[in-house]
């Protein structure tokens, strides 16, 4: 993995090629015949990659010690020899060759099993030089299968591929008929409705992709409906529309951003049917509101879902698998027994339509014993229509849960939790904690066992039911309630990650990560340290990451956005 990363970095990090003269756009789409099953198209990647490499981010990667070390290694020296050879053959460095061959518009279409056609707008002269170099120095064989005629250029057989070069258009296929079609432009282009719709929904992208899902429908529907309430809740509308969709589209964009940053955005879409089922819309539809909490310090990530649990429950017959439905009866009974309220009549009508999960790095008192594995702390927040109404029942439920856990602990000789309720800044909070470790438990160890990561706590903060893995996080949420948190833009569900805080959590757990690498990968300690430290260091380039889901009238979309920046 690491070698692959270094290789890919080095491949695109040579000195920049001189700027090439602009050329009018060449139509490659018209060379494709109809009937594509999948299609991928990249446009203008050459300039993007060149700009990235010239940016402070590219320079920072280039000067990274791992990249420098690779240059001095045997594979690095071999690569430099290869570059010298290519420069001699073409007069271009690697980036220059990349720009000449794949830096403009390139399309690849799949027509069936092992039926691929690739068409690229290239610099024909550079391609010719590369082919000649491969023939003379690399022993490549090029056999003419169709001679040049007035319908198109010659068609060659190179290895398993049928290849042709028509001026500045290169085409290659695993099937002669497809290559012929590209050669003679007899295919009719990419006019499939789904492909056009996908392109419109994805919007402008450096890399666009389309898949006709109809041939895969049986496979997609094999999974059936979500198996239980949890699966239905988290997968939301995707579980219902993806198996029914005719096509899927995706796009990938790379853009410079403020402050020497670069943003990478990937978006996937599937069409929504003309008349979406009301059950699905009622249960999973809508957009998130601004978060009514300021985010705590060192927040690692926030996961939010816009879901209407009451509607989901009401429409469960349509939305959940039959086997899952049977389990819901038991769930409903257990819920009522544990919480002293009816799930359907009291709980559902009073819960809001959003679920929030929050994770933060936990800081420990200096000098005090800490767990060997330092877990982040997490909280679940659920809006209530009337928080006060739930206060007593929440306390009873917490008491019951801790009681059950303690009973189980007693039976197994495990450690019980000590409960405590208190008022904190005007909010009644219920917390629990483990007693200090027994003397014998600490024999031969300096660090605390895993359980000391947890002080399970609950409270109703404002109109939010909050369950937290630690009392510290619960208290900070009490303090931060009422502040304005991030406001997502027309998002239905999302995960927002703060890589810097996540990296600190991983750094806190360097030793367990090393242990894991030694035991799972069979590494020596030195090898494991090198791997983990490299990954932690590489993580410095990632500045933010989000995964969001959205819906419009016509499509259901998911977007991944990552922002990268140079390191100092």
């Amino acid at each position: 993995m690491r070698t692959a990363l270094v290789l890919s970095l080095v491949l695109f990090l040579p000195t920049l090629a001189r700027a090439e003269p602009a050329e009018a756009a060449v139509d490659i789409r018209g060379r494709f015949p109809e009937g594509v099953v999948a299609y991928v198209e990249a446009d203008g990647l050459g300039d993007k990659v060149a700009a990235l490499l010239a940016s402070p981010l590219g320079q920072s990667i280039k000067s990274h010690p791992a990249v420098q070390a690779f240059h001095k290694s045997a594979p690095g020296l071999q690569l430099q020899m290869g570059q010298m050879f290519l420069r001699g053959a073409t007069g271009r460095d690697l980036l220059g060759i990349f720009k000449a061959v794949a830096g403009r518009r390139v399309g690849a279409a799949l027509y069936g099993k092992k039926k691929v056609l690739l068409v690229a707008h290239v610099e024909g002269e550079i391609v010719q030089r590369l082919l000649k170099a491969a023939e003379t120095m690399g022993g490549m064989e090029r056999k003419t299968v169709v001679a040049k005629d007035d319908r198109g250029p010659a068609l060659w057989k190179i290895g398993p591929a049928f290849v042709g070069l028509d001026g500045n258009v290169l085409f290659a296929s695993s099937v002669q008929a497809l290559a012929e079609s590209a050669r003679t432009r007899s295919g009719g282009g990419l006019k499939t409705d789904g492909l056009q719709a996908a392109r419109a929904q994805v919007g402008a992208a450096d890399l666009f992709g389309y898949v006709d899902l109809k041939p895969f429908r049986a496979m997609l529907q094999q999974g059936g409906k979500p198996k239980d309430l949890g699966q239905a809740f988290f997968l939301g509308a995707f579980a219902h529309y993806v198996p029914k969709a005719d096509w899927a589209g995706f796009g990938l964009s790379l853009k410079p951003q403020e402050g020497d940053m670069w943003g990478l955005s990937a978006r996937g879409v599937v069409p929504l049917p003309g008349d979406p089922q009301q059950a699905v819309v009622k249960s999973f539809g809508g957009t998130l509101k601004p978060l009514p909490f300021k985010l705590p310090a060192e927040t690692i990530g926030v996961l939010r879902f816009k879901r209407n649990l009451a509607a989901l429950w009401e429409n469960r017959d349509d939305l959940i698998d039959e086997r899952g439905l049977a389990g819901l009866v038991e769930f409903e009974t257990n819920f009522s027994n544990l919480t002293y309220m009816s799930f359907v009549e009291e709980f559902l009508p009073n819960v809001g339509d959003e679920l929030i999960l929050l994770g933060t790095r936990r800081t420990w008192k200096a000098g005090a014993p800490v767990p060997a594995v330092k877990l982040p702390q997490g909280a679940l927040l659920w809006p209530l229509k009337d928080g006060k109404k739930f206060a007593l029942k929440l306390q009873l439920t917490f008491n019951s849960l801790i009681g059950i856990l303690n009973l189980q602990a007693g039976q197994e000789g495990a450690n019980p939790l000590l409960m405590q309720s208190m008022e904190y800044n005007g909010t009644m909070i219920h917390t629990s904690r483990y007693l200090p470790a027994k003397a014998g438990e600490m024999d031969g160890r300096k660090n605390l066992p895993l359980r000391f990561n947890f002080t399970p706590s609950v409270a109703i903060i404002g109109d939010y039911l909050v369950l937290s893995s630690t009392s510290e996080l619960l208290k900070s949420l009490v303090d931060l309630h009422g502040g304005a948190g991030p406001a997502p833009d027309r998002i239905n569900s999302g995960l927002w990650l703060e890589p810097a805080a996540l990296r600190e959590v991983l750094k806190d757990n360097r030793e367990p990560l090393i242990a894991n690498s030694m035991l799972k990968e069979g590494d020596t300690r030195a090898e494991a340290e090198q791997k983990i430290d490299f990954a932690l260091d590489a993580g410095r380039y990632l500045r933010s990451l989000s995964v969001t889901a959205d819906e419009s009238r016509a499509a259901l979309g998911a977007t991944i956005k990552a922002v990268f920046g140079p390191t100092k």
């Binding site: 594995v373 024999d443 035991l519």
Partner: protein
């Protein structure tokens, strides 16, 4: 001393060659690499056995694995601890210590399924590593005070006037004397000596008020015995030496040891104060150990099979994958099937476990770093003709497929 226990003297007919050195590595350890076996074969049998039993002075692999001990324990994950133990077996240079620890784990068979505390099981296994090559008396005293053992055999409920006989029974039947060498009365009386041997704050705790300090008669001796007295009385029995010697012979040499050889080895054990290191040097250096009839005839346990394959092919063993694979093969570390430990030998192979072995090993030996010839010689010695290995080599299959084909041979499951 029985003539079969006299030192093995190489001759033209019975040389100390690569095959004999390989046999030593297979049985005394978890198998060796081609280079290690070659180096061993260049020594005298006495030197080779001493080097293996005494182990090297410093081992960077062991230091590395010891350095993550807290992280492994801190995760509280039983499979993490299992992976750590397997990594030790596969990588630590002092192989005999790892092998004898596995022997004691089956001898004092304690299961996590009842103890339910990973750190207690970890501490017990560390006792086997620390005292496994020392004297049996030291080990037995430590195990008797071990919280995992106390919980496993219910000694927490063994109190004056309400003796729980589980520990007393297993001490005599499974740990020291063996069936037929004690009476029910001995068990009852021995159990009284262990009353009040409890756990407090996760440590052994002697409760004077719950201990029965009265006079007991155990194995013909009478007195106000405590637990350590009963241990000493048991170790004084001739049967104890014979019983332990038989178990050692069954584990290291043959499923059906000669009774006279076992009796003689037992006598030697008692003579040397049950010192395991000295006993193993005597055993591994004996004619009996190197006798051709005792070579290649034992079915490997799943751990011996998997770890031995990893060592022969010099692959990095993925502990995360090895733990469930071993479970499917029938050996779940830290969870022996009952108080008697793993029965071993023919019990290791049945229709299900055979398939689990042959399928499971494919995912564990994925990237051999030595040639098939070297790995084959390390693993099989002279039990499979070189021509067979050459024939496999010439098949043109991938390194992984070749390794799998070799490890699927019946001989690869034997040692």
């Amino acid at each position: 001393m029985h003539s079969e226990l006299k030192p093995f003297t190489p001759s033209r007919a019975h040389p100390f060659d690569f095959g004999a050195a390989g046999h030593l590595w297979q049985r005394a350890a978890f198998g060796g690499s081609f280079d290690a076996i070659t180096e061993t074969a260049a020594r005298s049998p006495r030197e080779a056995v001493a080097a293996l039993v005494d182990g090297p002075g410093d081992d960077p692999e062991e230091r590395g694995l010891d350095s993550i001990w807290e992280a492994v324990l801190g995760g509280g994950d039983a499979d993490g601890l299992r992976a750590w133990l397997i990594a030790r077996q596969a990588r630590c240079a002092h192989q005999v210590r790892e092998k004898i620890a596995l022997f004691w784990h089956s001898h004092f068979a304690t299961s996590l399924l009842k103890v339910r505390k990973v750190d207690w099981m970890a501490r017990q296994y560390r006792l086997f590593l620390r005292h496994g090559l020392g004297t049996f008396e030291t080990l037995l005293r430590a195990v008797t005070r071990d919280p995992a053992m106390i919980r496993w055999l219910d000694n927490e409920t063994n109190a004056k006037g309400h003796a729980n006989e589980n520990y007393g029974r297993e001490l005599l039947e499974l740990f020291t004397l063996g069936d037929g060498n004690y009476t029910e009365k001995d068990i009852k009386e021995a159990s009284r000596a262990f009353t009040g041997w409890h756990i407090l704050n996760d440590r052994y705790h002697f409760s004077k008020t719950l201990h029965d300090a009265g006079v007991k008669t155990v194995l013909g001796k009478t007195g106000p015995f405590g637990g350590d007295d009963v241990i000493r009385i048991a170790l004084d029995q001739e049967a104890c030496g014979r019983f332990l010697a038989t178990k050692l012979l069954r584990f290291f040499v043959t499923p059906k040891p000669d009774a006279e050889v076992a009796a003689s080895l037992g006598k030697e054990m008692r003579r040397n104060g049950y010192h395991l290191s000295a006993t193993l040097k005597l055993l591994f250096g004996s004619r009996y150990f190197f006798d051709r009839k005792n070579r290649g005839g034992m079915i490997k346990s799943p751990i011996e099979y998997v770890v031995g394959a990893a060592r022969a092919f010099q692959v990095k063993l993925d502990g995360g994958a090895a733990v469930p694979a071993l479970r499917h093969m029938g050996q779940d570390l830290l969870a022996p099937p009952n108080v008697a430990g793993w029965p071993g030998h023919n019990e290791w192979i049945n229709t299900a476990s055979w398939l689990a072995r042959v399928n499971g090993i494919r995912n564990l030996v994925t990237s051999p770093s030595v040639s098939l010839t070297q790995a084959g010689r390390a693993l099989l010695g002279d039990r499979v003709p070189q021509t067979e290995i050459d024939r496999l080599q010439k098949s043109g299959a991938s390194k992984r497929d070749l390794a799998h084909a070799l490890l699927a041979l019946p001989e690869a499951h034997m040692s």
